[in-house]
Point group: C2
Amino acid sequence: MAKDSFNVGVIGLGTVGTGVARILLENGESIGRRAGIPIRLLRAADLDIARDRGLDFPEGVLVSDAGTVLDDSEIDVVVEVIGGVSPARTFIETALGNGKHVVTSNKEVVAKHGRGFLELARANGVNLYYEAAVGGGIPIVHALKNCLAANEIEQVFGIMNGTTNYILTKMHEERTEFESVLKEAQDLGYAEADPTADVDGYDVAYKLAILAGIAFNAHFSYEDIYFEGIRKISGEDVRIAEEMGYAIKLLAIGIRREGGVELRVHPAMIDRHHPLAAIEGSFNAVYVKGNYVDETMFYGPGAGALPTASAVVGDIIDLAMSRGLAGSHPSITTGFNDLPVLEMGEIRSQYFLRLRVKDQLGVLAGIGGICRDTKVSLKSVNQHTVSRTEAEIVLVTHTVREVAMQRALAGIRELETVLEVQNLIRVGL
Amino acid sequence: MAKDSFNVGVIGLGTVGTGVARILLENGESIGRRAGIPIRLLRAADLDIARDRGLDFPEGVLVSDAGTVLDDSEIDVVVEVIGGVSPARTFIETALGNGKHVVTSNKEVVAKHGRGFLELARANGVNLYYEAAVGGGIPIVHALKNCLAANEIEQVFGIMNGTTNYILTKMHEERTEFESVLKEAQDLGYAEADPTADVDGYDVAYKLAILAGIAFNAHFSYEDIYFEGIRKISGEDVRIAEEMGYAIKLLAIGIRREGGVELRVHPAMIDRHHPLAAIEGSFNAVYVKGNYVDETMFYGPGAGALPTASAVVGDIIDLAMSRGLAGSHPSITTGFNDLPVLEMGEIRSQYFLRLRVKDQLGVLAGIGGICRDTKVSLKSVNQHTVSRTEAEIVLVTHTVREVAMQRALAGIRELETVLEVQNLIRVGL
């Protein structure tokens, strides 16, 4: 059926949804010419349609009921930008079941239910696109799915969360503590009232599950990914890292190994000369290493209404350009490789360990003995007195297995001379 | 017609063509699964089919006549990787005329004849893809054409030539002169025997014409682009730049202005803390600034057989995935905006000017007078004696119009006290 426009229905007019509506209303003509078909915002649903969003919606576009969008036979693509699993999951499944393409920016629902969505999409001859779910405005999903598809991807890693990168940047710049920067970020709207998903690493784990799935052509559950957030990083960790020539960044790391894939999310101390150390504020950067292309990097705003909306509209344009191409694109992400996520204990890294200890003879001997017994080779040990009775010890190891480091840590915790393990941070990429 | 494979014919088995053949032969199965259809290397044509390329071509694939590829009704896409205008142009036109898609890595022929190719492609219901023509393995063409298509692009700029970046990097690292690094690069195979296209800026002008055309949705002739190469950059320029906190890079710059587009290619002194200053060797990096996405950057290998071949195969995969979609994608690049390239005299920049002068009283007064009369405001002036009779003067201006700077330069050249204008280099982005 030849159609005279490609029709969009948006569900959720929060910041991203409002951004999508704004781009389509403001730049629609130019976008339509690029796509080769007019792209029309036909419906935009939100529970609150009274609020002024600074946009001049054409008559009849604003509706308060998502069902109006899902059931409208004129709509070709449903944009789901409400976030979370419920009711987003149902909306996506209904839309796909009704033969509509879906574009979403919702990393959580894609990480948790993407596999089912893709099967449903295929069964209904439609597509599911989710460029905006990872890396905000950076076209990293498309790059992996299409442009770099000639390669066997060996590594994908980088900074994939804007909120935590903003907080860590501020902690470096202003020498402040996590809690106070978080509060400031919340006041400025850069962090959510409930910051758990960002600062505890869930958000990045969702993104890594999605990105690694595409990169390695497999399905990964975010629950199989080891993840740590940045809540435990103190101003003192940041200060010592700087002294040692490092910046602390929250990294997502996916590496193809023999027998599986290493997937992990955690803060890491990286050399201050590495380009990732220079990624500031809410910007994200993702490295991809392929067997033919070598190393590539993609940088841009990892969050924000308009950058994220730019990615959503990019997906809409792609769908509009490939209308009639039902069912061909999803094949690329259905994950034909059966790759296990390797145990975290199997990774190898350097480690930074900061301890509060009793300031007495033999403390180092005890710690050194445990490291020797667990085969954790030490690169440097620095001790300084903090009070009449206490000292702080900073250890940096050579590259060792995580399981060995964890054994050493357990032993060190048991020592009567060790008052507190202040932090264990991985060093390097 | 349902087909059971997507068939590729390669014309030209130089480094890139051999890389394409290698990827298709080596990784074909995985690529086919991603594309949703087997991708088959059906023919590979080169005048020399006797040479050992380290590949095990299936029986009948190697042919010595390009016509065999162009006339083969089984072939869906012709890959043109011979470079240059003749006979590449004829091959591309014949392939498109025969209803075959074309993928090329040939920036020169696309910059010079791309508009005609796209019209021919459209008339024949096929596509022309050229990701590998700009940025080697970096998927910058696709990012601009599709992923960022929601945006009005405001700026596109960066380092787009691997050979010159390699030479400039070496000149910084090893404090050597252009000619000796060029010779070394030629010996290592990083620079061509005839280096003109790279070192004199033609290559980058072709790339900028292509990239700006996509970014600003217009057609630009590379002949309208102001370009300078790096041949005039001396070890002394590099040394002084470093002292002043700059790195010298060959930049391509496209900026949307009121009334047109600023397009230029020239060496520039950029702050050593800018990420572009850290792009080393044959790597490229392209910044894109859009009205919604803000600033994004794409980094990767700008040259090399396999990275370039990775981009070519990415295009083949894209075409395979959208088979039957004839004629829809080219519309995006046919350039519906009618934008003039602004006169170079209209740009505004800071300038670095290095002069050899007579070491006598009044030299600075003369130069200063000309700058005053031409309204070139000076930021710094440094003079040092180089012999009993000669001195060197280094001037840095505030931001002024190019036309004013050129007038000042003409006046300075006329001064009896000025022995030689050693270099004029733009400062900043």
